[in-house]
Symmetry: C2
Subunit: 324 residues, 2 copies
């Protein structure tokens, strides 16, 4: 039998303090604020996970915790940072299994050598809302990555396959699709896992930080929108080749089975959490899944080459303020 | 006519970047994470404000922004820290006036010389949820304040009046009370303002950091519960004198008019955001409103002297996990 949910905040905090006290220097939890030693510079990111907005309601709290950590780690990967400290703001409905959530969160923190240093707990009657503030440090001799570092002539790269996360979201939302294609159960499970538990490309980000040139960001709101952001920040344009976009074979089969357009999911789906980055021509990243998808050009135009013809790529994707 | 709400996240971010770009070094907003220069040590705190939980639904977004900043600043005050950087996670329902919220938040940041350095925006259909991560630095030659610094023999102090915030919350929730006592309109407005826009005791916290001894925390969950926390952290007990608790005259009159017990509101109400601290006997803080309310004693007992008799003070107050 699982232990009962925490009925008092102080009991949960005591439990957390014991669990997090294994880290060097003991637990920083206990005062009105946590003290971090002098250090830095730091890269700092904040990202939400809200039930029914960023993930389906009723998701296992341990999956929510891993997703929350992963999407924030992906931002640090995009900066070339090594994760160091985390602060959590968690507002949960009655009966939420805090123990399950924190066990997974602390396990993820240990795996990445992150200290969970503080946070705030509250009630939110309808839905779980969580936000994590994550600190990263810069490895010695490396540089921070910025969106603004793209230079005309640079090759444009993606760190891994895209579109599959959006397919996973579609399959979660339209469960009748899942049952319609029994032959693709493994591909379906992969797409859903890709959506729910993204794998931040921290090693790739650290390698990019050792390179003298190049821009980087993570693809969270769809390749089209995020590429526009990178180009705008860099004062440059880009040309990408639809034929070069990396799709997994299981993803294209899945799209065919459910009648989805892989290119549309890749360009506008979002939540891929792979790195989009530029490098001088001739330099290849050490990430096997990375693919060169085009190049940075002068001007402001972002264009897509598809079936021999080139067209403007609209600045479209996932918008956090727009109604769904 | 007020401008329309932001319909796209990128437009809001552009507007924010322009508004926050007045700070030295320009705006840190724009990459996947913000870069903070090497520095510290830092005191870091996170606090929520959720509509219908921490403040009444429908509250003016500028008041929400000021309250969010104030409750976090109060945590830094309790550490003896000078505020430096802020990161925001904001999830708002459709039609929320982001411009009004951010105008007030940025004004508050300017007043306290805080750089709003980053954040994340999302939708939350039912209710506004906001959390702020705030960084403070330690003034040279000063020390951090901790809950664990109370020593038997220390005098126990409160930085200002308590209970009025809880009365303000009661008056908001039971609006019929407001109309029943027309003669006390000014006191009612004061109590409501005290609840909605607390004034963090930053100057007092900084002064306490210059003292060699003493514990500190802010009273957010009621004096009874927070005093138990301070005693537990310090491995000590406390004796307080009900007659010494600082109430404003308008507050006691208000309680009489609505039939509330000022002592119950003071001990269990919460959200006072004044500092609770200890000092060696004979040292007086420079804060005019501060009152000596008792002393730290050996053992674990926390007792209340009331009308000549001493009784155990139960560890009760506002619990963030308990159902309301």
């Amino acid at each position: 039998m699982s232990p009962p949910p925490f009925d008092r905040e102080d009991r949960l905090i005591d439990w957390l303090r014991r669990r997090s006290g294994q880290q060097p220097g003991g637990s920083p939890i206990g005062d009105d604020a946590a003290i971090l030693p002098a250090g830095g510079p730091f890269a700092i990111t904040v990202d939400h996970q809200i039930a029914g907005i960023h993930f389906p309601p009723g998701l296992d709290p341990s999956v929510v915790a891993r997703r929350l950590l992963a999407v924030n780690l992906s931002d640090l990967a995009a900066m070339g940072a090594t994760p160091a400290y985390a602060f959590l703001a968690l507002a949960a409905p009655p009966g939420f299994d805090h123990r399950r959530f924190f066990t997974a969160l602390l396990a993820g923190c240990r795996r990445h050598e992150i200290t969970l240093a503080g946070g705030d707990l509250a009630r939110n009657p309808e839905r779980l809302t969580a936000s994590l503030t994550l600190f990263g440090t810069k490895p010695e001799g490396a540089r921070w990555l910025h969106r603004s570092g793209a230079i005309p002539g640079h090759a444009l790269w993606l760190g891994g396959t895209i579109g599959e996360s959006a397919a996973g979201r579609m399959l979660i939302e339209r469960s009748e699709l899942k049952e319609a294609i029994p032959s693709l159960q493994k591909a379906i499970r992969r797409a859903i896992r890709r959506h729910l538990e993204p794998r931040p490309q921290l090693a790739l980000g650290l390698w990019l930080g050792t390179q003298r040139e190049g821009a980087a960001m993570d693809v969270s709101d769809g390749l089209a929108r995020d590429l526009h952001r990178l180009c705008k920040a860099s004062g440059a344009g880009a040309e990408i080749d639809a034929g070069a976009l990396p799709f997994s074979e299981r993803f294209t089969k899945l799209c065919a089975a459910v009648g989805a357009d892989p290119l549309a999911l890749a360009l506008g789906g979002g939540e891929d959490y792979v790195l989009l980055f530029t490098l001088p021509e001739g330099i290849e990243p050490p990430e096997e899944q990375a693919r060169r998808i085009g190049k940075i050009v002068k001007g402001k135009r972002v264009t897509l080459l598809r079936e021999g013809s080139r067209s403007l790529l609209p600045d479209q994707g996932w918008d956090h303020l727009a109604a769904s």
